[in-house]
Symmetry: C2
Subunit: 323 residues, 2 copies
Amino acid sequence: MADRVTICECFARDGLQHEETFVPTEVKIDLIGAFAAAGFTRIEATSYSHPERVPAFRDAGAVLAGLPRPAGVAYKATCPNPRAVERAIADLDAGHGATELSLLVSATESHTERNMRTTRARQWERVAEMVRLAAGRFRLVGVISVAFGCPFEGAVDPGVVADDAARFADLGVDLVTLGDTTGLATPTSVKGMFRRVTERISTTGAQAPPIVAHFHNTRGGGLANCVAALEAGCRDFDSSLGGVGGHPAQIQYGGGMTGNVCTEDLVNLLESEGVDTGLDLDAVMAASRRCEEALGRPLHSMVARAGFGLVGGKTEEKVAHDA
Amino acid sequence: MADRVTICECFARDGLQHEETFVPTEVKIDLIGAFAAAGFTRIEATSYSHPERVPAFRDAGAVLAGLPRPAGVAYKATCPNPRAVERAIADLDAGHGATELSLLVSATESHTERNMRTTRARQWERVAEMVRLAAGRFRLVGVISVAFGCPFEGAVDPGVVADDAARFADLGVDLVTLGDTTGLATPTSVKGMFRRVTERISTTGAQAPPIVAHFHNTRGGGLANCVAALEAGCRDFDSSLGGVGGHPAQIQYGGGMTGNVCTEDLVNLLESEGVDTGLDLDAVMAASRRCEEALGRPLHSMVARAGFGLVGGKTEEKVAHDA
């Protein structure tokens, strides 16, 4: 197993994206500060999506301006289009920019049309333009959505995903993220995809960027897929405290059910396996509680209820004929 | 990966054990009938625990008497002590017995004391007595609780678990179940334990019984551990529709949060991996809904909310800048 992994805490962007109630800017800033204090070195802070389209992030610049800036902590902002990168650059020029930008493509035309309102060809032109605009000023994260299955088209050709990853590598991005947008990955498909993507990138001659596992727990298999990714050599994971966010199908179908892998549960699993997350577990749990307070409801982490379960720790629990 | 696995549906016993509201006998009978109709060939139906200690099963005999008896379906009842086996035999003699009996030990003294109110030495004497009483009339399932960690003692010596499994094999039980009672197993400990138990049993000269994975999702890792067990050769799993039951710590800490692996999510994962569960997926989902109706609340399965996610299927979902 691995010695050390990096978890990017996604609560403040992917987590809040579909919340119906606007979380005040100062609360976001406090939460992100708590994430940094817990030891997260990569934090998804906001999105430069159009404020009318995704009003949860209409305060993108104000959030970034208010964040503490401890050494070694990177703040990521999502950029769907060149206009978003221009806003990111303006904030950077004003002294309060993001450290990383996510650039998004989807592996299928249908999802690109619904998510981006454009075609894959056009989106790749936009991505190239975004990379040109951002050049040298940010760490860039190339994100491939619906990499393991599409809600509209079903199965996704892994060759398309591998080609997309190689294209991001050719463009010089620093990380490539494989998104299981609607929870269709399996441990076997994860291992196969990591192998295929890694091999395909190696043919480009480009510097091979680390591959990030961005898995949703839509159907309960998120952690199983994270384990598969770990076994396939992955050392970078995205997750969200309380498991909020992910994909809005869950909001439609489940009244607040959600998609992201729960950070608390992922940290528990990794640390139980002897993998070092670099996190302060008490501070992670404190941040977890603050996320629940911010949204005013219990969220989806099991570890938030049961506590970390590192063997050797002991809890007092009543029992009665349990197996 | 495997061709075929057997899932024992545990809703009606492990699932209902800690419910505060008594589920009427006729509802239990209807639910168990729905499980059989969905294709479950092993169903945990009730427990012969003392009716005052576990009142949820005060109707054990009546439930078994009312069940449909389709060919190939085994009904399991839990037996904590010889008196329970005597009750099981009386019901069998009356023409409406269980097909399988679970015989319980715990891997630690502390859990044995709390769960069984006795010592491990005394419980093993009881188990031998129960096997003698039951001889030849039931399939016997030897269950080892807290096999992967104890809420009172912390780490559990895998050698003790392997010795317990070998002892069950020596006694001639038909299956041995490894219980991760409070969600302390990890994929690595699961693989190590299956290897160790299998090797240890092989030294006894006894017929090697299949090993059943009975994992709780206390900390979110239940499915990841099931995948590890599958990879270790396990072909028998316990789970509960809606993930109810498991370990009461969850009831204390989480207001209805729970421990069992959700059957719906396990079935989705296995079938997505091309593993044949032998189940009718539509009927599984119908049974899932009936379990929620019976308890009058949404339960914990993600698949119950999101639907089965077999790639190739398509669902209509709104999207907005998801990764």
